[in-house]
Point group: C2
Chain length 192, copies 2
DNA sequence: ATACGAATGTGATGTACATCACGTAGCTAC
DNA sequence: GTAGCTACGTGATGTACATCACATTCGTAT
């Protein structure tokens, strides 16, 4: 399916836009093609855009003390990603985003999104809904962190995104779960 | 300060409403007074409202296996709280909310909020901004969970909300940090 | 095909935490 | 007052995890 159609279907789930309104909104999105391993945002960057994933898989991650990596989000098709803290507060990036696989995305600048949100009530409605969904997902993950042990979180993750198992290296799954790669390796080799 | 004035100042930080528009919005809020220990939402409840805190302190928490409690949020003045998962998805509550101290709040139903959001663009703008702020706070806490040890998270919490130290019992702070009360006790008696 | 780096498996050891157990201090009700 | 409940401190012990070390396998470039 074409980029425009993917975005249209995604947005129409929660907002009613006329074709003209959607075309106007879409005109502000820019397509980007990335190769596996390519960097989208690096810590310290000025962050101007957010990204809507059409195909492939990106990761948003934080590097602690130049050593340990923690993954905040695997961004799959129809997910949005950016360093939202830096984007909204106009500060430098504190997280990194790169591509786990080849990827196609659509990006839109913070400025343009705010402009269209103020022009079109339904677009603002859509972005409120989208942020709300992200908030609920984040709360759920926080609870899971406090409540469940590593094994339970691992199984929860694979149940939610079965495609991850073959798509991303195990040490990245460990970095998402917040455990060492050794612990994760022992975990799923134990219950075989 | 009066309830109406507190809400007005809070909202005017991010949205430009005329006095008439604000009066209209405010007419949908209902005042509620709670005593210390009083329950606002219990697991299993139908959830219709969200709550804006005027004074006092509430906690939103999850009970695991009828035994362990994890605190998702301490709700202080000008914070919003509810079981948003249940509220937006029209499902039963999975978390509990009660009052740590006597408290005054304003509440608004999900239905009324959505109605006003669709009527007044600026109100929708405000709620997008508010949700966004919650999302960023949640992401930040998630990172802190993965990256920092208990002691660092404890000091981070007290730096952010110094008033908590005298306001809430230590075992609730432990439940927010996700550690046992014994561990927390040992931690802050060690570095005295 | 060879070579080299990235990903993964697995043992040994250390540590931060939970859990259980018991004690004390303070608050509230009657 | 005193009874009882809640908050809090602290020792002993167990455990899930990190960390370090090294071996093996896989993927990709040349």
């Amino acid at each position: 399916m074409e980029a425009k159609e993917i975005l249209k279907q995604h947005i129409s789930k929660m907002a009613s836009l006329t074709d003209e309104q959607f075309d106007y909104l879409f005109s502000y999105f820019k397509p980007r093609i990335y190769k596996k391993g390519q960097i989208v945002i690096t810590e310290g960057d000025k962050v101007d855009h957010e990204y809507f994933v059409l195909s492939g898989c990106l990761k948003a991650f934080f590097i602690n003390d130049e050593i340990k990596m923690y993954i905040l989000q695997f961004a799959m098709p129809t997910w949005w990603t950016s360093d939202y803290g830096a984007l909204y507060n106009q500060t430098r990036a504190t997280i990194n985003i790169d591509c786990i696989t080849d990827a196609e995305v659509l990006c839109i600048s913070n400025e343009d999104r705010e402009k269209i949100c103020s022009e079109l009530h339904q677009v603002e409605h859509f972005f409120r809904w989208r942020t709300n969904r992200g908030y609920l997902a984040s709360q759920k993950r926080l609870l899971s962190f406090m409540n469940n042990d590593t094994k339970a979180r691992y199984e929860e993750l694979l149940k939610l995104y079965p495609q991850l198992y073959n798509l991303v290296p195990k040490h990245l799954i460990a970095a998402y779960l917040g455990v060492s790669r050794e612990t994760l390796s022992r975990l799923y080799n134990a219950h075989k």
